[in-house]
Symmetry: D2
Subunit: 364 residues, 4 copies
């Protein structure tokens, strides 16, 4: 991938910092003839929006998305894509630059301050600039478009671990995900996470998390070996999300612990006369190509480095300093990463759907 662009035929270029006038995405290669409403995009942005519970940052950002190009407005208020680039813009509203004044020269440990300064010799310190998780709002808007590209695909995500507290997978219920502030699929974990995160929050601390994203209904055959494997591009997309430190597909790291007998998914002919897998250890991908089974990926988010405890650091004049990050931050950024992970999965699948249609002509 190139700089700020993700994808090959369905290409998403994002731009913008947390404290400029706006941020956005240009979605290039979206097929023509797709009808959608602004709400089809906004509803996903609202899932990611801060300030929705005490467990996420209290910044207030309405994150209202505008569509600036690439569509023909229809009389009923909907739009139809024309095949030309769709420019999406989200204006920044709640900017408190003064919160960041004192870290203009100080490198916050665990943040990208130092590395941006080394690389570029200049850094937009306001809110983290381009390295701010706010950039992910543009991804979510683009991902909402990506979902419309393939009919019949359902893409959902859930939080499966906060700190050392994991969900019980036996309790998995997708319907629960929207019923709690954590996107938790297991209702029994909710009170555990609540009390744990309250503790973290009160201590001015933060903690990591693991998110699982699943795509159902993806046709078999997507993915372009060798260097555009579907799992490779999913890993690339998920690892591009701020603070992600690990990605796995299907059994993931667990596959290292087991034998070939345990890991391989056997096949049979299903009652509908079609090929059927008897298990899905592969997470829906074999040899870089989708099997038709649900695509299952997980990614680990580190605890945000914005914490109230003083940490040792340096500044850009090479003085040793102690840094304490004030401002309004997420005790667990992993929560709001759920819709972002869904968006990256959606973009990756849409891209490969178009690519496969191009190379093989199999699919409509």
């Amino acid at each position: 991938m190139s700089h700020n662009t993700f994808g090959h035929l369905f290409r998403v270029t994002t731009w913008g910092e947390s404290h400029g006038p706006a941020l956005g995405a240009v979605v290039d290669g979206c097929p023509p003839g797709i009808r959608f409403t602004l709400d089809d995009l906004q509803s996903f942005l609202d899932k990611r929006k801060p300030g929705q519970s005490r467990f996420v940052t209290q910044r207030r950002e309405d994150d209202l998305v505008k569509v600036l190009s690439g569509v023909m407005p229809q009389e009923d208020g909907s739009m139809i894509s024309t095949g030309t680039p769709i420019s999406l813009m989200i204006e920044n509203t709640d900017q408190r630059s003064k919160d960041y004044g004192e870290i203009a020269k100080r490198y916050r440990p665990g943040h990208a301050d130092y590395t941006y300064d080394v690389k570029y010799g200049i850094r937009d310190y306001r809110g983290g600039g381009r390295s701010s998780a706010r950039e992910t709002a543009a991804r979510v808007a683009a991902g909402a478009l990506a979902r419309l590209v393939i009919p019949g695909v359902t893409i959902r995500g859930a939080l499966v671990q906060i700190g050392k507290h994991r969900i019980n997978r036996a309790n998995w219920d997708w319907a629960q995900v929207s019923e709690n502030p954590f996107f938790a699929p297991d209702p029994e974990i909710v009170p555990v996470w609540e009390s744990y995160l309250d503790e973290i929050r009160k201590a001015g601390s933060s903690v990591g998390a693991v998110i699982e994203v699943v795509a159902e209904g993806v046709p078999a055959g997507l993915g372009a070996p060798i260097y555009a494997k579907l799992d490779q591009d999913i890993a690339s997309g998920l690892m591009s999300i701020n603070a992600v430190k690990g990605v796995e597909i299907g059994n993931g790291f667990g596959a290292a612990e087991i034998t070939g007998e345990e890991n391989a998914d056997e096949m049979r002919i299903g009652p509908d006369g079609k090929p059927m897998f008897l298990s899905n250890h592969a997470g829906g991908i074999l040899g870089g190509i989708s099997t038709g089974e649900p695509i299952v990926a997980r990614f680990a988010i580190k605890p945000t480095s914005s914490i109230l405890t003083e940490r040792r650091s340096i500044d850009s004049d090479l003085n040793e300093v102690d840094v304490r990050t004030k401002g309004r931050h997420d005790p667990c950024v992993g929560i709001r990463a759920v819709p972002v992970g869904e968006a990256m999965l959606a973009c990756t699948i849409a891209d490969h759907y178009l690519r496969d249609r191009g190379q093989t002509g199999r699919l409509k």
Copy 2:
């Protein structure tokens, strides 16, 4: 990345199947003026070569690499890169197509047979064709060139887990890696793995593994946010290796379990007057950009699905069949994946080195 090409300025395009006349790589964008010998490439191929111990496949492939273009031969037998594409070719020698005859139509569970057939409608079943791990020989050759691009960088890998047997990190000694058939950095694990793998091998079974690859001496500032983050491209490269199901950087999935205080790497001014990190939980990358600390990545390899036990499957005529994979296979393909992981790390770093030099002009 595009189909069979990896990289943006340092571009590696691989081609070839396990049972055609040859396979190879075209390395495009290699800087001019790099002097090397054939042995600089061959030595890495030899590390990956099969048949070197009883723990890897007994196929005999000499894997002799030829350089067909992009260099000026020198009188001392060395070559100097001219800046034009370097074409590397490895001829296939030990092909026993008959071993594969009976699986021409049968889908081996856990292999890419089914997905290739669905996607392409045709499949080179001989030795797995393009999905064979043999393709990684071309990567290793290209990776050997990539190593020559940045002076002062050391890239090494080691096996850290086979099945449930993990090394003791306190014993880590790079010098041990070449002293045992497992690339193990911990001499105490060697007898454990030996007896475990003998068992696996005799049972005609297989098992997964975890590999760690480390790059030392990488200058701070490499990586192009947002969609060409260094960790993203490392994840992309490692996940493109056959059988890889998970990738992590630094603390990886472990970062999900800890707090911001525990995870962030503090900084001080070192005795040399330069910025210094007091720890490396980040694995050498912050905000997608290298910190100057060692880059540390791990990846999980699933057990090969080529096992002697019969597994339920189907064939391309939609008959239900039982499949037992004969032929000469690796009880733990993870072992030979060590030099492949190194190669992908080397290619990624070389690419970002050239890209950074292009965009910022900081480095020589």
Copy 3:
């Protein structure tokens, strides 16, 4: 190049139609640390702006460019690039959609109406939508940034032919270009073109033109053979401009008529002790790589197909119709193409400058 993106390291993605809320460009890969003012961009947009003489369209568009990201605002009103994507936006103001109502279904001969409809099944007929020359405003803004990337390069353009009326090259004077409404370098052609274009304009007709663009001060060595030759990418950039039907470098088509003795540029050592070319038939490029001589390219623009004479055509219901294009159009679109050609040349050179610096590390 990919869809709506031009360039490899210096990447320009444009978006927007003539009658949506805005259009713009995302410039990705601009080096950090470049200081500029809004006027550095606006001045080039003003050259392209319509309504400046009776020889161009009378639409009124202020074409005010906004910088939405990628810069740190400075106290003196200037900005410094940060190395992150620079989002440029130009709001559309003078939209008279009613002018286009009656051609919503009719295919204007010579326009892209028919081909867009065939390809996409839907078309933004308002002002030509994405195929409108208005898109070139975004290029000019991006080109203004590209000019800042390489110090010491001067990029200029001039109109050298309208209809059959060519300038006299012996009269070439760059200072004249800004002194007449045609960007003519030859003052003697001005009255000829005036009376000719008045005639064309009054007849509701249109006519073609040839533009020459020149880059001086380009260092030798830019261009990446074989498929990223500098002349190839210049041809690609110029041919991407609306209505361009031909591109030539140096002697161009004239080179077909002469002998090797006449065409090759001889060399000597100059008075400064450096290599010197005795002529520049090559237009500053040999083997796809810049020689250090001025880069000289010409491109031919067809007459706009928006004319008042009725022409035979069809509509999207496959009725035969006669079409007469009302609205405010350019009798010679070639005039306003001069700054656009300059912009594409600037973007191409900036891209190759960064690429060369990346691959060879020669240049600062």
Copy 4:
């Protein structure tokens, strides 16, 4: 395009110099299921092969192409593409390196010797190395595959001008092209060119030429505005051919001389009830998208700079020298450029066919 790769979905990467062991192309993205024979490729290489008349270089190269990967061999000797990269190799046989010894340090005027040395600091002087027209053999092989991608498309080329001697277009007869050593479509020009080229050849001189390439049967709708216009990519492909200095589509530079009334192609409903153009001034492309009419492009080739007359030049030690190019060269390289132009047109159309199928799903 990137370095040595042409195309986006149908990607051709060429490698190799004129005097290394071999040269070749990796064709990545070729659709699966295409059946072809070696002769389907070889027949086009034979058209380009040197030594076929006294009007082209007398080097003897058999240019036998081998297919190293990406196909399943069939019992009848044909092959079927599998969708994986097709590696094509042509071994170099007739290498007389001694011919080039004395120009190892001398820059031949009009050649790429100087620019390669400036850029790379090293140059393969043997036969021009990578800048040799021999590289085009790999393009022709790849182009032969590209032709197989779209059913029903015919791609042909002809020489239309040598020096100042143009064909009479009224005499155009495609059947004549294979009947003379010039690929001339006008039998009356043949004796003119013969005597003119004999003169040029005997004088040790060279002359330029213009080639016209035409694609018939291309469906309407190919081309991806704005920066992947079909004409843009055709211009890019043709300008990438060695010695090309100009490219035009349809009326080309002639369009600059005429009015909108003369240039626009009117439309009617044809006898088959389908849209029909009444002329083809546009050369089959409007707004960057194919109209369904024949695609017509022309390109100008400069006279080769390898001539027997001494020319003033310098060497790499900055001495002034006189250079006379011995060796076996083409008096008019334009002749052998005909199949190369066809190949680039074929590759461009194949790429856009796959891209369009990917984005819009219209075509099979």
